[in-house]
């Protein structure tokens, strides 16, 4: 025992050295944006590799449900296509439109990257989701993420093969959403720690909403396209302050069983942002 103490005392400078190195590294990582981002990317990559293995195993367990869901989705889409084709045929006969205006550019506005959730959390106050696609696959920061059911979150951090998504179940993520049919919009905020519900805030006081009205994304940002399903209103509006109301929304996305998601890439994002910037500078 005494030998051990002697040994430690003799080599105390090593301990002291590592302590100082630790403090310096801590300072570097906490105070320098560049080094911090490098560190986070490295950490994300390592942690992501670990989660990848476990999710690979888990994905087999949920295969049946995923399959059923996909089939259901396909049938719905199929019937919708049929319906629309029928309508189109009827319309083209009645209206006798000679040609359609070519606005194909509008439809190439968005691209989608399919990704799998490899780590998910719904019980925390600020929840994050990790996906198995990263900057090598074209994922960038501030891209929107949604599942077949509805909105999921926004990419906040990418490493070469993984990305971290700020979940809708995080008060820091406030996507702009609107009520279908009315077009009054406001931020959707997750306040209670229940992964099934969120609140649509800053709605005008004069408009009356009904329980069961659908809420979708407004498209007033470069993160989500317009009309991504979000949820349905489950409670009548409550007055939050003098000017605004808020409603409780039941989310479509089941965050607890979330597996397959899509990342939205907006092709003209730079253009929109540039325009916004010039607009802002011109106003000033």
């Amino acid at each position: 025992m005494r030998d051990l103490i002697n040994f430690i005392f003799k080599n105390i400078h090593w301990l002291f050295f590592f302590l100082l190195v630790f403090i310096s590294s801590f300072l570097i990582i906490n105070n320098n944006e560049f080094q911090r981002s490098k560190y986070l990317a490295f950490k994300t990559e390592i942690i992501g590799k670990g989660h990848l293995v476990s999710s690979y195993v888990n994905s087999y367990l949920g295969l049946r449900e995923t399959n059923q869901k996909l089939i259901r989705q396909i049938t719905e889409q199929e019937s919708l296509i049929q319906k629309l084709q029928q309508q189109l045929a009827e319309l083209s006969v009645t209206m006798k439109t000679p040609t359609f205006i070519d606005d194909s550019a509008r439809f190439e506005k968005y691209e989608f990257i399919a990704a799998r959730v490899i780590n998910n959390n719904v019980s925390g106050v600020e929840n994050l989701i990790m996906l198995d696609k990263g900057s090598n696959q074209g994922v960038e920061n501030d891209m929107g993420v949604f599942s077949l059911e509805g909105i999921v979150g926004r990419v906040i951090h990418t490493s070469p093969n993984f990305s971290v998504v700020i979940s809708l179940l995080n008060p820091k993520f406030r996507p702009s959403c609107k009520v279908v049919g009315d077009n009054s919009f406001g931020p959707l905020i997750w306040k209670e720690r229940d992964p099934r519900y969120a609140y649509l805030e800053e709605l005008p006081r004069h408009v009356v909403f009904h329980i069961g009205d659908t809420v979708v994304t407004s498209g007033y940002s470069t993160v989500f396209p317009e009309g991504v399903p979000v949820g349905v209103i489950t409670s009548s509006e409550k007055q939050t302050n003098d000017n605004f109301n808020s409603v409780k929304v039941k989310l479509f996305t089941n965050f607890i069983t979330l597996k397959e998601v899509f990342i939205v890439k907006m092709n003209n994002k730079e253009e929109v942002q540039e325009l916004e910037n010039t607009f802002e500078t011109n106003v000033e």
Binding site: I12, H13, F16, F17, L20, V21, I23, S24, S25, F26, L27, I28, I29, N30, N31, N32, F34, Q35, K38, Y39
Partner: protein
Amino acid sequence: MSSKWYHQILFFILLILLQVWFFSRIHLFNFATPLPYIYFIAKLPSNMNRNVVLLLSFLLGFFIDLFGYTMGINALASTIAGFSRYYSLQLFTPKDLPQKYTPSVQTLGSTFFQRYIGFILLIHEFVFFLVETFSLFDPVILLIRFLSSFVLTFILVIVFERFNFNFQKE
């Protein structure tokens, strides 16, 4: 350099101010940035407690970080350089030396002193530029920056030592 403690403190502050206001702003040919403040660590008495040397190294780097907005980088490089000082003293000094001496051209001789200081500077500059870049993305640029800065700092320190030497003779 006198070993009186207030001289050491003045020297400490002088090197920090010189580094922050002058040397850190030099980017010779866009590459070389001298970091001669580590000279302070090299000039501490040979038998000084290693923990004290470490603490002084850390504080030196820390104060430079504080004024230079490069939080932690200098502190880390300086701490590692301060740690390497003991081994440099073991490796690059002649054997027939008294118990306590201040490393200088006078006590070690020109060749030994250059090796001694060169070893410390090499480690210091290497850690500094590695951490500043924080990746091996462009190893050639990193190497050029590291080597050119090392040469520049080395020349500066030898000039410092030369002045010091004259000062000590008078």
